[in-house]
Symmetry: C2
Subunit: 181 residues, 2 copies
DNA sequence: TAGGCTATATTTAGCTC
DNA sequence: CGAGCTAAATATAGCCT
């Protein structure tokens, strides 16, 4: 049987031959994808990877595909406008995974937001007249807390410092000294 | 000229015909992708979307593709083990885009690291004896800075508060009051 | 006229040597 | 890797509704 492409079962394929076929067929798949993208003015991408191997083959038909995908990814809230026609698992899974990762990091950043405002002020990155009343009130509260905690922590630390620094390094004592007030 | 598939330029295609061709060719593309996946034991996905339309056509050959892609994405540090064979723009662009986004967020988080240690202490989330000498020295410096800055900022703020709060809201005055020390 | 199905023709894919 | 051969892909036309 010298058939063409239909009899891809019951075929005796050693690894070399299989590799050849893979390359050839991937190439022609790309060619057809390219034709399609031109002929019908669509973007086509294809991705292929083998089970045990470390190679991933990806084929973007056009550079614009890249941009459009990025654009698509850049506005995740638009996702729902797209109807994922067939098996949507692939692209969706990419999005979901990355979105989740980003959301977690965003939460961490958000937790630091108030403290950040404080530090922006402290380091002169933000001017005092750029702050609105609401933030001022928050900051004054923050100041109060910080003063109380500084006092408390310094007391507790001074004990620790004495012990640990005594064991390892006794240069640090002076640092406990120079605070104003 | 009745050619087949090569002459996809200078062709008179009304929208109906183009749609037909798109469907047919997508179908045969999928068919070939499927053949390839069986014949060479690889995973193949293809994605296509049109310019003006809201449909995305995705074709994963196998459900396992999804899992493998997730697995791949779940261990981004493994990326470098993968050699992106040909035009790697598509998948790579997804990864790059997301990685960049994540990197930026990670940097923001990292910037907060030191301040975080402070706050962990302040809020009792970290015990004093869990801190090593190096951190203690850093913290004592931080304390000194914080005290200085608190004093300085409070002075500057007290002026602003008077002005702004007077214009908008005069409940905040009391908050300037109750600090210890 | 529009759309769908079939037949046909010709190119392309893809295997073998 | 090229030649050659067979099946598949696919565009066009004809025909029917």
């Amino acid at each position: 049987m010298n058939g063409k492409g239909v009899c891809w079962t019951n075929r005796n394929l050693d690894e070399g031959k299989r590799k050849n076929i893979l390359e050839e067929r991937l190439a022609s798949l790309c060619k057809k994808a390219y034709e399609l993208s031109i002929l019908c003015d669509v973007k086509v991408s294809l991705i292929s990877f083998s089970h045990g191997e470390t190679d991933i083959f990806t084929w973007p038909s056009l550079t614009e595909t890249n941009e459009i995908v990025n654009n698509y990814l850049a506005y995740p809230e638009k996702q729902r406008q797209y109807k994922l026609v067939e098996h949507d698992a692939y692209l969706q899974s990419i999005l979901n995974y990355r979105e989740k990762e980003i959301r977690e990091l965003e939460n961490m950043v958000e937790d630091q937001e108030m403290k950040d405002l404080f530090n922006q002020l402290a380091e002169g990155r933000k001017k005092f007249d750029e702050i609105d009343v609401c933030d001022i009130k928050g900051l004054l509260n923050l100041f109060k807390d910080k003063r109380a905690k500084l006092d408390q922590m310094e007391m507790q630390l001074s004990g620790n410092v004495a012990n640990e620094i005594d064991a390892n390094d006794n240069n640090a004592g002076e640092q406990n000294d120079g605070h104003p007030n």
